[in-house]
Subunit: 208 residues, 2 copies
């Protein structure tokens, strides 16, 4: 296999053409509004499984765009997702990305209460008291904590991007939101990650 000469600014375009052609060859049709998001997730992972497992609640994409356009902030559970989200583009609508996971105070409180840092981070996010899109790419306990706050009637997230990855409680945590009334973009199953969370947020930003 030889290296193909291609101009830097054409690489992404060509990649999306390849993804589109291979989805067609696989007989997979993605609804028009979901395509930019699901294809960017495949672009970021080279994993076509996502074409079968990405789930969107009714009207989720339009709502996410509206939230961002009206200045909603983003809270994520990993510094990798924070690094990957296009913060300049988000800031052009007034939004910022927050990640409380590495805060020393969060770590201390989590240890004392024997909960995960994600749990404490979600409580911090709830206390922001502003419209927030949650972009969860790592910790199922982040989703579980958000759901517990909902059940307790203390907080309901406006929007959840739920793509934690892993083997313990990941699928169960996603199901909590698949069965809730909160607008969501969720990847069913074990797969996901901070790169996937960032790709979803960026795809929404780029399609506004």
């Amino acid at each position: 296999m030889n290296v193909e000469y291609i101009l830097p600014n054409e690489i992404e375009h060509r990649s999306f053409e390849i993804i589109t052609a291979e989805l067609e060859a696989l007989g997979i049709t993605i609804p028009l509004d979901q395509a930019p998001i699901t294809k960017r997730v495949i672009h970021t992972s080279a994993d076509f499984d996502y074409a079968k497992t990405m789930c969107y609640s009714n009207g989720a994409i339009d709502l996410a765009k509206e939230l961002i356009k009206s200045g909603a902030h983003i809270v994520t559970d990993t510094n990798m997702a924070l690094a990957g989200i296009n913060k300049k583009k988000l800031a052009s609508y007034g939004g910022q990305v927050h990640c409380f996971m590495a805060d020393e105070a969060v770590a201390i409180e989590a240890k004392q209460r024997q909960v995960t840092r994600a749990t404490v981070s979600m409580e911090r996010a709830a206390a922001l008291n502003m419209p927030v899109i949650f972009a969860i790419g790592n910790a199922p306990t982040a989703l579980i904590s958000l759901h517990e706050m909902m059940e307790a009637g203390v907080f309901t997230p406006e929007f959840v991007i739920g793509v934690p990855v892993g083997f313990v409680n990941v699928e169960a945590a996603k199901e909590l939101f698949l069965n809730s009334t909160v607008p969501y973009i969720i990847n069913k199953g074990r797969k996901g990650g901070s790169n996937i969370a960032a790709a979803i947020v960026n795809a929404i930003l780029y399609s506004i």
Copy 2:
């Protein structure tokens, strides 16, 4: 599926147990020294394909550990990998992580020369003039540029972690190093990513 109660510090341990059991069920045996790395890659992606595609040159893992123990730095091609690598642990051996991709001067030079920012970043890395482990999680052009410098006789990397992801030149770029004499950890095929690059570096750090 119900949420299982598990202590935060037990989640990772339990995850690795599940991965080990499922690899066994799949009839896949991973060499003992590679297991902590390949399993951490699966842990970070929930993708067992990596068990079949992760490639290690002879003695690669011992060499990577030695390099880190003697203070080698890490150069990566994405800020997400930089965010994900355990910098405190690396610093305990004297190393730092560098990513030149977001430097304004790199962007300007890349535009002028019609090359990718990754190419310019690799030239910056070569000019560091110190032992470096390259951890490439995004840009095949980073690998291609490193290989071009080798061919031109101007620079040879000490070690390459080659896990760019994608559809254009990714497989070809990896093959350049699979066929070279540079010690490597490479994931064959299209898959990889900044999360995978960070997972590999961290697995090496944790197994020293």
